[in-house]
């Protein structure tokens, strides 16, 4: 595990803090600068553009937003799978940009990704036993200890009949079973931090519930700090006590999930909550408070990125980027709350 040896940058006590993102940005170059300039738009996609938040130990936080909002990129940044363009990410108090060598191996053990598509996450040529042994092997766990750890991990994710499935290949298993294996593989090195990227979006409803229950159960039992990336607020609500809503590379609202669901502050969060259908016929058909789709990520609006779809936008929204504003337990990035 990465030591807490490095002092926190601002000298404050952050022992309770597992992850701290400070002004994190990730820009991607798409296509040619020349052609983009000729067409009057930028060749830069600002997938993540100035995101800050901290994760406390044991916290489970949903990263919520629609496609292209930067939630998946943010997850990859937190795991040091891609380097940030600017800003910093601290893990256990240490800037992940400086982690290398043996520390990097330790970091990779401590911080794990749970993949979205269980059908693609496992090597089809390896048996389940081999797939699960691989991370142990890489971490230098002695052969004699491996089987015990594999069995433990399978028990943890409540995989049915573990003895039988060990010699199976991925194609012999259902999506739900595979996703349990994917989770077992991420948990086998006993990480302290996991990022789950839409882990149930490929699964059928009747199976999904089982995986979500395992996720809830596991993070409680292991005291994991977790990020759950999803576009589905109902799922996030089920597994995360806190939700960070993103829009076009920025955070728009951050706070307790129940509060976001029942009384969203940011106009975008409000639209998201209104748009989610619920499984009973007496639901509200309240008109959506916004119209249109998300603008081109290469040419986001000035000021607040949501302003061209926002029913409450006023002059200031076009000229000034909203700063974080504390509203009770929540942080909201909107000029409406700046009194």
């Amino acid at each position: 595990m990465v030591g807490v040896t490095a002092p926190a940058i601002d000298g404050q006590d952050h022992r309770d803090e597992v992850v701290r993102a400070e002004g994190v940005a990730k820009h991607y170059q798409v296509g040619s600068n020349l052609i983009a300039t000729l067409r009057g738009r930028s060749a830069l996609v600002k997938a993540v553009d100035g995101v800050s938040f901290t994760l406390k130990r044991g916290e489970s936080v949903g990263l919520l937003g629609e496609s292209g909002c930067g939630k998946t990129t943010m997850g990859r940044l937190l795991l040091k799978l891609v380097p940030p363009t600017s800003g910093s990410i601290l893990f256990e108090g240490r800037d992940t940009a400086t982690i290398d060598g043996a520390d990097l191996r330790a970091f990779r053990r401590s911080a794990q990704l749970i993949f979205q598509n269980p059908f693609e996450a496992l090597n089809p040529r390896l048996t389940i036993r081999q797939s699960l042994a691989e991370p142990l092997e890489n971490a230098g766990v002695p052969r004699a200890e491996r089987l015990g750890l594999i069995e433990e991990a399978l028990e943890l994710v409540r995989s049915p009949s573990p003895a039988e499935i060990l010699e199976r290949y991925p194609h012999q298993m259902s999506g739900g079973q595979l996703q349990r294996i994917v989770m077992a593989r991420a948990l086998i090195l006993q990480p302290t931090f996991v990022v789950a990227d839409e882990p149930v979006s490929m699964l059928d409803v009747s199976v999904r519930a089982g995986i979500l229950n395992v996720f809830r159960d596991v993070r409680e039992r292991l005291g994991l700090t977790a990020i759950y990336i999803s576009h589905d607020l109902a799922l996030v609500r089920y597994v995360c006590e806190r939700t960070i809503v993103m829009y076009l590379g920025r955070v728009v609202e951050d706070g307790p999930t129940e509060e976001v669901v029942h009384e969203p502050l940011h106009p975008y969060s409000k639209a998201l909550v209104t748009a989610v259908p619920v499984p009973h016929p007496d639901q509200s058909h309240e008109a959506l408070p916004i119209h249109g789709g998300a603008p081109d990520a290469r040419n986001p609006p000035s000021g607040c990125r949501f302003r061209d779809r926002c029913p409450h936008a006023f002059e200031r929204c076009a000229v000034e980027e909203p700063k974080p504003i504390q509203q009770g337990n929540r942080t909201v990035y909107c000029h409406l709350f700046d009194s």
Binding site: E66, V205, S206, A209, N213, L272, P277, V278, L288
Partner: protein, 341 residues
């Protein structure tokens, strides 16, 4: 009750796979009323998409119609010649695919593609086709000047609107939409569903909405047809089916679904997986996963029975042997312990 627009009776469709047959749809029966939205719901492999395609008789090469009838406006579609069927396709029965990109040709402007349908199939002149194209775009909420655009210039949601405009081109009586909003973000999904519902009501047409999402059905559909392992297990008025289901699979599906608006406790999975449809089990196909299974369930073939609802809308059917115990089963189904293996 007026005669339904579409009546599917005991429909069976199989796929030839290797040396065997996969019985994707096995004896499906349900009606689609004139001017209504019917949600065809179920999980992957339940046969819902096969039914959607079977209705237009555009099926993969290895598909075989193994029996049954599809009455559309009184005519059995399965008895029509290919030429007669061709006239109905798009004309009376239109299709909206999951990804509109698949139904649009990337190298032609929308204008050209829509114009071709209107002129070749609708018999309109060039000027009439142009006028109608603009009217169709306005109908689905796209600026008519965008008719000049190519498919890739539209966003996912806009493309889905184009697909709806295309489907409406020849004034169909029935639109079959196969997971039309599945690939879309939640806000766009809502916009498309609102649009589809508004058009359905305004034009008085019928829609079959194929989806895996019961909340989408709850949002827009008048009636619901629940499928499991190739068979219809329950169907009826959406409100009564979702609030008082008779089939344990419907109950299980509902309990497994997250609900944003209620203070829900724990989500309950249905343990196990659907059966292999190349060799389906005898008796009730849900029996291996059903918490209320009795020995007779495995021996008795499933039959849809009208359930008795006092003062409720008619036409609620369920294929559970234990329909009579539904009230008790519903109470038990809401307990998590019932579903843990």
């Amino acid at each position: 009750m007026t005669a339904p627009l579409l009546s599917i009776r005991d429909l069976s469709v199989s796929y030839v796979v290797g040396n065997g047959m996969v019985h994707a749809v096995d004896g499906a029966t349900f009606d689609v009323p004139a001017a209504g939205i019917v949600g065809l719901v179920g999980e992957s492999g339940c046969g819902k998409s096969t039914i959607a395609r079977a209705l237009t008789r555009v099926v993969p090469k290895n598909a075989r119609f193994a029996g049954g009838e599809i009455f559309f406006d009184g005519t059995d579609l399965l008895k029509l010649s290919e030429g007669e069927m061709n006239r109905l396709r798009w004309g009376d029965i239109a299709f909206i695919p999951q990804s509109a990109m698949n139904s649009l040709d990337p190298v032609y402007r929308i204008e050209t593609q829509l114009g071709e349908v209107l002129r070749q199939r609708g018999g309109l002149s060039k000027a009439e086709a142009r006028e109608k194209s603009e009217a169709l775009f306005e109908l689905v909420g796209i600026e008519p000047r965008r008719l000049r655009d190519f498919p890739h210039q539209f966003s996912g949601g806009m493309r889905q609107r184009v697909a709806i405009a295309l489907a409406l081109a020849l004034d169909p009586k029935l639109i079959i939409a196969d997971e039309p909003v599945t690939a879309l973000d939640v806000i766009v999904q809502r916009q498309i569903l609102d649009q589809l519902q508004a058009l359905q009501q305004r034009l008085g047409i019928s829609v079959i909405l194929v989806t895996h999402d019961i909340s989408v059905v709850a949002y827009v559909c008048d009636r619901i047809v629940v499928m499991y392992a190739g068979q219809v297990v329950e169907s009826g008025d959406t409100r009564t089916v979702l609030t008082a289901p008779y089939h344990p699979y419907t109950m299980g599906l509902y309990n497994a679904f997250p609900d944003l608006q209620s203070s829900q406790g724990i989500l309950t999975p249905i343990e196990g997986s659907p059966p292999d449809l190349s060799a389906p089990p005898s008796g009730c196909r849900f029996a291996p996963r059903c918490p209320f299974v009795e020995p007779e369930c495995r021996a008795t073939e499933m039959v849809l029975h009208e359930v008795e609802i006092v003062d409720g809308p008619a036409g609620h059917v369920s294929a559970c042997r234990r329909n009579g115990d539904a009230e008790m089963l519903r109470a038990k189904a809401s307990e998590v312990a019932t579903w843990s293996a």
